[in-house]
């Protein structure tokens, strides 16, 4: 499983490079489709089956189709290479380097995050305990030994059931608010893309040609 995960992570990183550094917009979009699909497989390997399906349906199915549709509609030209020694490019690279350092330091520090106390404290409101560290007893000597891979206490009832239990019990209010967010987004998109009344949308030459044909047909 580790080998599979390493291969998937490397492929994801390579295809993400393609998103940023492709000159053609459609190649960026296709690289992003690949990245999203590979991340879905990573979710599957990490035992998040529900998110695997959601990622494929929502991202690869809906969002990326929308992107490709908009690219076909707008037909953007290929972008020039970013100018080297541009002030904005230098500032951008510096900002990203600072961000990168901060994120890597944070990631390094969180690797030693102590799981033995938090997992005992996190108990679901509806009866079952999240995490099985408390039951193993030997958690101080090796706090990670329950994470060996056939056993996964979270998914014993099934991943969809577990996630749904959280969504509809503990996080039911945020879940309902997301439906409001989607409604607002849909109304906003309809408002933004409505036909604008001002300005000539008709082609005067085509109209004249149509009138001429009418006259010729009458004669």
């Amino acid at each position: 499983m580790n080998v599979l995960l390493v291969i998937l992570l490397i492929l994801t990183a390579i295809s993400a490079l393609g998103v940023v550094f492709s000159a053609q917009t459609i190649y960026s979009a296709l690289s992003l489709v690949l990245t999203v699909g590979l991340l879905a497989v990573v979710f599957l390997v990490l035992n998040a089956q529900f998110l695997f399906v959601v990622q494929l349906i929502v991202y690869a199915g809906a969002v990326m189709v929308l992107f490709v549709f908009i690219i076909a509609l707008l037909d953007p030209a290929a972008e020039d290479r970013p100018r080297l020694l541009d002030l904005r490019l230098i500032l951008g690279v510096l900002a990203v380097a600072a961000l990168c350092t901060a994120v890597f330091i944070a990631a390094r520090n969180n690797v030693t995050y102590d799981t033995s106390c938090t997992n005992q404290a996190v108990t679901c409101m509806h009866g079952y305990t999240v995490g099985s560290l408390a039951a193993t007893g030997d958690s101080t000597a090796d706090p990670f030994h329950t994470f060996g891979f056939p056993q996964n206490a979270v998914n014993q009832a099934g991943n969809v059931q577990t996630v749904a239990n959280q969504l509809f019990h503990t996080y039911v209010l945020p879940f309902e608010i997301t439906s409001l967010l989607l409604l607002v987004a849909a109304v906003g998109a309809v408002y933004l893309t409505r036909r604008v009344a001002v300005g000539p949308r008709r082609d005067p030459q085509a109209e004249q040609r149509w009138k001429d044909e009418l006259v010729e047909g009458a004669e």
Partner: protein, 103 residues
Amino acid sequence: MLSQAMFPWLLLTAAFLFTLGALGVLIRRNPLVVFMCIELMLNAVNLALVGYSSYLNSEEGQVFAFMVIVVAAAEVVVGLGLLTRVFSIGRELDVDDLDEMKQ
């Protein structure tokens, strides 16, 4: 589920994807690619959330990743609607040109 040896690599990949997305937002000029890079950053956060969820043996990370996916879908809808509007009034799609808000 996730072994201790693999977890740092997963986090580092998430950090790499996030910084790559941030770099793309800053250096690319096509707003469509900028939106794609934002999607990349959101996906990196999702990867970190699911990785933590698997590592800490808790499903709450998956719930938050689900929320992030919903927000990303809403963001794409509004953003692409804005882009079609900008295009329909005859402007070129270049984030360096669309700077009226600065003035």
